[in-house]
Chain length 191, copies 2
DNA sequence: GACAAAATAGGACAATTGACCTATTTCTTT
DNA sequence: AAAGAAATAGGTCAATTGTCCTATTTTGTC
């Protein structure tokens, strides 16, 4: 089963890239973690950039799937935005250890001047557009994209500092502040 | 002049670590950028971690100096906080290219599980304590540290997204929002 | 000016990296 | 069952890495 091995490689590479960073993760790391030889590995991915592309596409697919699920489950756009905000708590432990998977990858690739950086940033775009849609449904019209970017930025900052200080209390406090901010915005809209 | 060479090494390493990342910068990179041989290089710094320590200490000293200057120049704590917020615009170009020097280093070291990560985080602490002091002077008392962390987090998020999207308009918009937030907080305090 | 110490240069080292190659095994299709 | 394709294993390669070593030059001190 070629697909199975390929998927296992991508799953493992995804995890290692997140935990150790892209550059710090070697072929040998991934191959040994998957339990296959480097030769077999190279049969599925010719270059390291191929794996990176595969990992990013995998993340894009998974993220899209998650956002679609959120779109179905409830029908209050505000609740959906709150779901987004609460990922910070849901993934709190990982975030304190390794930061935000999207932000840290984008930052690393930007520094490496890597061709795939815009690809990684498109993960942000997925969240951005989804958030914008929720704000539009709430009636924020033209302001929706700015609000989406605002909340995306706040999340990034929380993740970075929670990681730097390994501070869970800060993370939870800021999640509450972001929810309060959301309520405020909705309140202001009604006048 | 041993000190002169040492300083030139640290200055160059500081820049390269910021632009390329710590791991992606090699001895050879730094030596050739400074214009000295690797042998001479090794005479000043025995290991790569030694350079990292030196760079972080250099940044700590420079940051402390900058904050002290801000403490002297004006006497309105709110203006000082605004000075901090406006670094985002002042260093906008670099931030869009390479992110925040403090946040990206801390993130990278966290992923590398590097012993110097807390050291890098202490750069954040410098800003945190300075901001806390300004809020205390404004009369926020016990809330000062939380407000300091809040504004620190917002800045980090802005830097991360401005870098990911190379978006100058977003950066300026968020700086305005942070200043408005500050005015709000001060307004709320007066009641 | 002699001499010890510091600074500099350049080479050598083992280890690791991404990349590539060629066998062998396994699977699929007929 | 046979044949071709896909998958796997394991070895090789040049390049780079951090580290270390030994000469040579420069500097500072008496």
């Amino acid at each position: 089963m070629a697909t199975a091995t390929r998927d296992r490689i991508l799953e493992t590479a995804d995890l290692l890239f997140y935990q150790q960073g892209f550059e710090a993760t070697s072929f040998a790391d991934i191959a040994s973690a998957v339990g296959i030889s480097r030769g077999n590995f190279y049969h599925h991915f010719k270059t390291k950039d191929d794996i990176l592309d595969g990992v990013i596409n995998r993340r894009l697919a998974n993220t899209e799937q998650m956002l679609d699920r959120w779109e179905i489950e409830g029908d209050d756009p505000a609740d959906r935005i709150r779901s987004f905000i609460h990922i910070l708590i849901f993934n709190g432990e990982k975030i304190r250890k390794f930061g935000c998977p999207v932000g840290t990858l984008s930052s690393e690739l930007a520094k490496l001047n890597h061709a795939a950086q815009p690809n990684a940033a498109s993960l942000f775009t997925l969240f951005r557009n989804w958030l914008r849609r929720q704000f539009e449904r709430l009636g924020f019209a033209d302001k929706s994209d700015e609000l989406a970017m605002h909340i995306l930025g706040r999340s990034q900052g929380v993740a970075t500092l929670a990681n730097a200080f390994n501070d869970d209390a800060f993370l939870r406090r800021e999640v509450d502040l972001m929810c309060a901010w959301l309520d405020d915005q909705i309140g202001l809209l009604r006048h």
